[in-house]
């Protein structure tokens, strides 16, 4: 097929394309899915996908690709869907994105490709995420991954962390002929994709399939290695013979508010709450041994308004919570969570307590949480983040009865790698300093990207950093110049 727009495979006139409504994503009914962990979105059928793909306007200068952190060639893969070549479309995405089945599910497309889609000026944007997911799943069902055949370069790269950015680096570099070994601290691979994002948003089977594909391509994985503790960066380079190292250790230590009662039993960090469920399968206790506090029939709240907060509270609802609240100190407009997730959560029956913040947790006198004392807020002047600052309303405090409270208010940098790697520069918050373009750190041969550089962000931004790092590592390994 021709890559030029003049020979578009889409024969529909532009005006007609605008008339096709955005094809809705089939989803499990809200009152069923809020009781199970099966995926909410069910995926397009081939017919829906082809119908949706026809809406693409074939822009001469596609802004969708420009706004994709990994630069997926949207127009080209959508055109292949129009032509019915779904495997070709998948291969086209894979040129830039090693985890299409993941990003097709969890990427905030409204902030990237779809946010800049020309269609959205008049009608709803093209369902790029839904289409990406469709072809990735189609490829998986067909089981016809292309294993690239490349000449080995003899260079070895260590990747620290098997989350989205580490996997992107590994996937890109193995296709350049370098040997890649990924080190993971936990007993299971996938990082936040496995311990953080719940099954109903990203089935673990999808990640296992992506990992199998990477193994087929030759990527080696080693679990139970905490770089900085089990082995240092210097030892990897000087004793184990790695020519370059990529640090993608991800999200850090959970923050707490520092209000009274945060140590009561029943108060969790979102990281712990989600890890118990997703990684340790505590909801299957006693079949699995890791326990968690009983949620069935209990009142549960999450503090925070990001995707992690919604993942946690929607999990609590699925585990039988009677009331499930989101307590967020600003208003809807400032919520950092993806629009689709907020919409899904509301449909499922999550109670959003906006412009509200806890000021203290209360207990039964034996150390178990019974309520959160909260205050209502109003929005004042914009703060450093550009969002309007929440200001407490005097005398508005009230007690919200709760058995479980989940803190999802952000993370701070994990210091393990930084504190054991001499000469590795960090910023004043403790995150690793890395160049925005090359992802180079202050240590020759050492690259870094993702949350450990930027602070908590999204899967796709971490993958974007991985992409840039892989390019830059390849350059470093082939030229030898730093």
């Amino acid at each position: 097929m021709s890559p030029t727009t003049n020979h578009s495979l889409n024969v529909l006139p532009l005006k007609e394309r605008m008339k096709i409504p955005r094809q809705q994503m089939p989803e499990q009914p809200a009152d069923e899915r809020n009781k199970n962990f099966t995926e909410v979105n069910l995926g397009y059928s081939p017919e829906l996908a082809m119908q949706e793909a026809q809406r693409c306007l074939d822009c001469a200068k596609p802004t969708c690709t420009d706004n994709c952190p990994v630069g997926v060639k949207v127009k080209e893969f959508v055109e292949l869907i129009v032509a019915g070549d779904f495997l070709g479309a998948a291969a086209k995405i894979r040129e830039d994105n090693v985890l299409p089945a993941v990003t097709g599910r969890v990427c905030p497309q409204e902030d990237h490709c779809e946010g800049k889609c020309l269609l959205s000026r008049k009608v709803k944007p093209l369902g790029i995420g839904y289409l990406e997911r469709f072809v990735a799943d189609y490829e998986q069902r067909m089981g016809t991954h292309l294993i690239p055949n490349v000449a080995p370069t003899g260079k070895r790269v260590a990747v620290v962390g098997s989350g989205p950015s580490g996997l992107t680096v590994a996937g890109d570099l193995i296709q350049k002929g370098h040997k890649v070994r990924v080190f993971e601290a936990l007993h299971e691979l996938g990082g936040v994709l496995v311990y953080g994002i719940p099954e109903f948003r990203l089935p673990k089977q999808i990640i296992r399939e992506q990992l199998d594909y990477m193994r087929e391509m030759g990527v080696e994985f080693e679990t139970n290695v905490i770089v900085g503790r089990t082995i240092t960066i210097d030892e990897l380079m000087h004793e184990e013979g790695f020519d370059a190292v990529y640090i993608g250790t991800g999200a850090g230590l959970p923050q707490f508010m520092g209000i009274p009662g945060e140590h009561f039993n029943g108060v969790y960090s979102a990281n712990e709450f989600l890890t118990r469920i997703n990684l340790m399968k505590a909801y299957k206790f006693p079949t699995y041994d890791e326990p968690m506090v009983e949620l069935h029939g209990k009142d549960v709240a999450v503090i925070g308004g990001g995707n992690t907060a919604l993942d946690a509270i929607r999990s609590a609802l699925r585990l039988g919570a009677r009331k499930a609240y989101v307590i967020y100190r600003r208003s809807d407009a400032e919520m950092p969570a993806r629009a689709e997730e907020v919409h899904h959560a509301r449909d499922e029956g999550i109670d959003f307590q906006m412009l509200t913040a806890p000021i203290e947790f209360l207990s039964d006198g034996k150390g178990w949480l019974t309520a959160a004392r909260c205050m209502r807020m109003e929005l004042g002047e914009p703060d450093a983040s550009g969002r309007r600052r929440p200001v407490p309303i005097k005398g508005s405090d009230f007690d919200l009865p709760l058995s479980v409270a989940i803190m999802a208010i952000g993370t701070t940098a994990n210091p393990i790698v930084q504190s054991t790697t001499p000469g590795l520069g960090t910023d004043k918050r403790g995150y690793i300093q890395a160049d925005n373009e090359t992802q180079r750190t202050t240590r020759p041969g050492v690259f870094a990207g993702g949350d450990i550089v930027t602070g908590a962000a999204t899967v796709i931004l971490a993958m974007g950093a991985g992409r840039r790092a892989a390019k830059s590592i390849h350059e470093y390994l082939t030229t030898g110049s730093w």
């Binding site: 039993n265 326990p291 968690m292």
Partner: protein
């Protein structure tokens, strides 16, 4: 998979394992721990490293049967495997020459105190070790501690061996005799560590305890092991596990460690039911005395 090179009971219900873990063996320092998961459905539990042998690539751990996971562990033998072992975790003990160090080990905590006692000795300190156990057969590592200590004092709760009483009695004796003590390291049940802390606080003796909260990842990611230290929340896995005993909020530690008591009992009961048939042909793992000592373990796992 981590192979068990050698496994033997060193006291009733207390088993020592030598594990093939070359990466961990190379890095381990006194005071550090590993997190392990026995099998696919298993939970992750922290266990202090007793010793390591970098030349042979092995580490040793000492485990007391308490909950399901530790019972399951202690049913494993030489040649078996442990699914996941990760470490070494936590900050190493601060070993320096301070003068006279009193190392207190309560129950299975003795095994965790031993490597630090040895390191303090190597650093040129006078080391006095105090071992406490409920009863004679649960006194462990006496010979090893004698090798690295200038003096060893032993108490048993029931007086069946050495002196009847508690480790705090011995420490009080030392203080009353005018022994100059520059540092106390206490590792054992929370009640013991709290009692030691109370005693030395009055005497203004620097005291370090090794805390045993519930953990999952051990890298600071989950925050489950948070403990108030001097009113500020710290993570035992990355900021500890050793802390200034006089700054630890023991009450919160006790409360948080009881968070899953019901679940732990349920888990244990189911495990014991499921193994009841085979148990008849094996020696009993835990008698009443051991169960009451089991609090020395990191959690009742």
């Amino acid at each position: 998979m981590f192979k068990i090179i050698h496994a033997e009971f060193i006291a009733p219900g207390i088993k020592r394992f030598v594990l093939d873990a070359p990466r961990i063996a190379r890095k381990q320092k006194p005071g550090q721990f590993v997190i392990l998961r026995v099998y696919e459905q298993g939970e992750r539990i922290p266990v202090t490293i007793e010793n390591s042998d970098p030349a042979h690539g092995t580490i040793s751990i000492v485990v007391q049967s308490a909950g399901k996971t530790t019972q399951l562990l202690n049913s494993l033998n030489t040649g078996d495997n442990i699914l996941d072992v990760v470490g070494p975790l936590g900050k190493p003990s601060e070993i320096e020459k301070v003068g006279t160090v009193v190392v207190v080990g309560g129950g299975v905590g003795t095994a965790m105190a031993y490597p630090s006692a040895a390191a303090f000795k190597r650093a040129g300190n006078r080391v006095i070790s105090i071992i406490g156990a409920r009863t004679r057969e649960l006194v462990i590592l006496e010979r090893e501690l004698r090798e690295v200590s200038d003096a060893v004092m032993i108490t048993t709760d029931d007086g069946s061996y050495a002196d009847k009483g508690f480790v705090t009695d011995k420490l009080r004796q030392l203080i009353e005799n005018g022994t100059r003590i520059d540092l106390v390291l206490a590792i054992g049940p929370i009640v013991m560590m709290r009692a030691i802390a109370e005693l030395t606080r009055k005497e203004n003796i620097r005291t370090v305890v090794s805390l045993n909260p519930i953990m999952i990842d051990g890298t600071g990611m989950c925050g489950g092991c948070r403990v108030p230290i001097d009113g500020k929340s710290e993570f035992a896995c990355v900021d500890g596990p050793e802390f200034d005993a006089h700054k630890v909020n023991f009450e919160v530690l006790v409360q948080r460690n009881s968070m899953y008591r019901d679940a732990e009992q349920k888990s244990l009961a189911e495990y014991q039911r499921s193994t009841a048939k085979t148990a008849a042909t094996q020696p009993a793992l835990a008698n009443e005395a051991e169960k009451s000592c089991a609090v020395a373990q990191r959690g009742n796992r």
